[in-house]
Assembly symmetry: C2
């Protein structure tokens, strides 16, 4: 069974621009080609598109636009973790020997239809993700006696880190006071607690061990992966203060990679809302239950950007289908020591955590140089 | 590398009914469970949904409805060959060792948004598939001096065969005269030359070699597969009288399975329109170029149902995301000698051909008992 490496990537600026989904895919993929000079269209066996767009046949369209005639070509959708679902699918094609080189391209528009959870009748009228996030926040704060200030610090930290990410939607710092006085959306959630939908694309190249030296001198290996879907409707959750699917996915990914949570040097996790960051840190086994905000505070105070160095979803913006791929690209850059102002001190092992719809589904990837 | 078997299936009646997409998926999957008595929800590692529906998170929703908590869960879309794209993806998860048991469920509604090719600006106003089919028909008839009667026989044969398929949309026989006097849609295409969109679902269970004996005594093996996407817009085709993507996909599938076209005993091919059947037979290497209608005529006259025994798309109806899965189920039943009145004489090797959008993309599967 061949190992699978990440051997190239491309990304667009995350914005509120009105760009067609096909153009977003094209722009991220053209950036990938220009970053990977030895790559030609003929090298590519498969093109997977990750998006919540209602547009059809996007993989064939992207392929035609950039001049690829792939064997494997389709779109993948699983709401907010479509991106890492595509990466795992690409991994399986390569690992099985059906392909050697797969291009995964994720894109979304600011007005994506994936943002409103129309299908979950159990939510009644409360179909926007802010409602589950609000329940999570109330539940988490009550159970672990966490203050609004402690959660607001997630947003402060991630906005600050995004300033060093030229592709991030936000380029502005905010204070705890700014977060706590931003527009009140629900009793437990303010505007600056939320990631924002945006237009953005991210493309990544997965390659078998034999082929990767053709494209890069510094391959990053996918050494572990885990996925779990516990339900679709969030009211199936028995508790709102931890992420069951994340725990299961992380356990698998650690086991496959022969690593433990303490080995992780840098992490991109799915901070769709401020409460998600401490909850994810806990469910990933990085810190004890209820202690996530302390870990965030320590990282912030010591200036260590190891948690969401690119600014996470809150700082970077959240173009659904592109998010998991953009998270993975950040970890690749960190492990290649090419993250510029965002560079964490000499990381060897990194982790990506990408989830959907109130953590009903999670993917965890472990990457290493 | 483990071999991959098909160890179970379920299907719904194809109809014009107004049923929600989630219910169609559920009905096909419940049928699969009832046909596969030893299968429990806990056995299933992955759930892939094949559909052109705009509804999101369908794989998680189906999983919750039927009580599965899968690792792998997402939707796959590639227009009309979404179904076989999902099957190949499931194959790769199993073959790579990431999973042992994958449920693939395809569904579509009669009003699927995948039916109009909105994205192909090169088509001008002619975005409905009948326009490419009309060009194909004109081109094919002119090049090989094929009569309207010869193409009409495809529809006659497939409607006749569908009468023996209890799940088919059509249960009525038609004469050549009926086809030639049915509503004229374009200069070269009449209503009965066309497959019809419909509501339908089909689910299939892919299993690794070690696990398949838990679920079936007569596994059907996927011994070959090939896929190719040559373009998205059909005007990239240099000719309209053969299917380039099908030729390439078939060559790969034959090579992988160590079979040649002459070894194929039964075939489900993508007769979206009558002209597609002879063209596909030729591009699959079953008969010389331009001789496809002669092969159809011989099969019809000798009462041999080996080409599209369930009635093909023209007879069965074409619920886009379910079609490739329903085709595969037919070949499984044929190879298990369980096809009832549709049974072809003792077939050992079968083939599935599923394509999208003017044959810009094709999948070919070789199955054997």
């Amino acid at each position: 069974m061949t190992r699978v490496a990440i051997a190239g990537f491309g990304i667009t600026k995350f914005s509120k621009e009105d760009v067609k989904i096909e153009s977003v895919l094209m722009n991220a993929t053209r950036d990938l080609f220009s970053n990977t000079p030895n790559l030609t269209q003929k090298d590519i066996d498969g093109v997977l598109v990750s998006s919540n767009s209602n547009s059809k046949y996007l993989s064939a369209i992207l392929s035609e636009i950039v001049g690829i005639q792939p064997s494997i070509a389709h779109s993948v959708e699983s709401l907010c973790n479509s991106g890492t679902n595509s990466i795992v699918s690409a991994y399986s094609y390569i690992s099985s020997g059906l392909a050697d080189v797969i291009l995964v391209s994720g894109a979304e528009r600011y007005d994506s239809p994936g943002q409103v959870l129309e299908w979950d009748k159990l939510r009644g009228e409360f179909k926007h993700p802010i409602f589950w996030a609000s329940l999570f926040s109330k539940s988490y704060k009550r159970k672990y006696r966490i203050t609004d200030e402690a959660l607001a610090l997630v947003s402060v930290k991630n906005h600050k880190q995004a300033v060093n990410n030229p592709y991030a939607l936000s380029q502005k710092e905010f204070s705890i006071e700014d977060v706590l006085t931003s527009k009140k959306l629900t009793e437990d959630l303010r505007l600056l607690d939320c990631s924002r939908p945006c237009t953005g694309g991210a493309s990544i190249l997965l390659v078998s061990e034999n082929y990767c030296k053709n494209f890069t001198d510094s391959p990053i290996w996918i050494s572990g992966l885990g996925q779990k879907t516990t339900s679709a409707s969030f009211t199936k959750n028995l508790t709102f203060d931890n992420m069951e699917s994340t725990k299961i996915a992380a356990t698998k990914a650690y086991e496959m990679s022969n690593h433990k949570s303490k080995d992780i040097d840098v992490i991109e996790l799915h901070d769709a809302f401020s409460v998600c960051e401490p909850m994810a840190l806990e469910s990933l086994g990085m810190v004890d239950q209820g202690k996530g905000t302390e870990m965030v505070k320590e990282a912030y105070q010591t200036g260590n950007a190891k948690i969401n160095p690119r600014g996470g979803l809150i700082g970077s913006g959240h173009p659904l289908g592109a998010t998991g791929i953009a998270q993975t690209i950040e970890i690749v850059q960190q492990l290649q020591l090419e993250a510029g102002k965002r560079q964490v001190d000499n990381p060897k092992v990194g982790l990506v955590h990408n989830m959907s719809a109130a953590a009903t589904s999670s993917t965890v990837l472990v990457l290493e140089s």
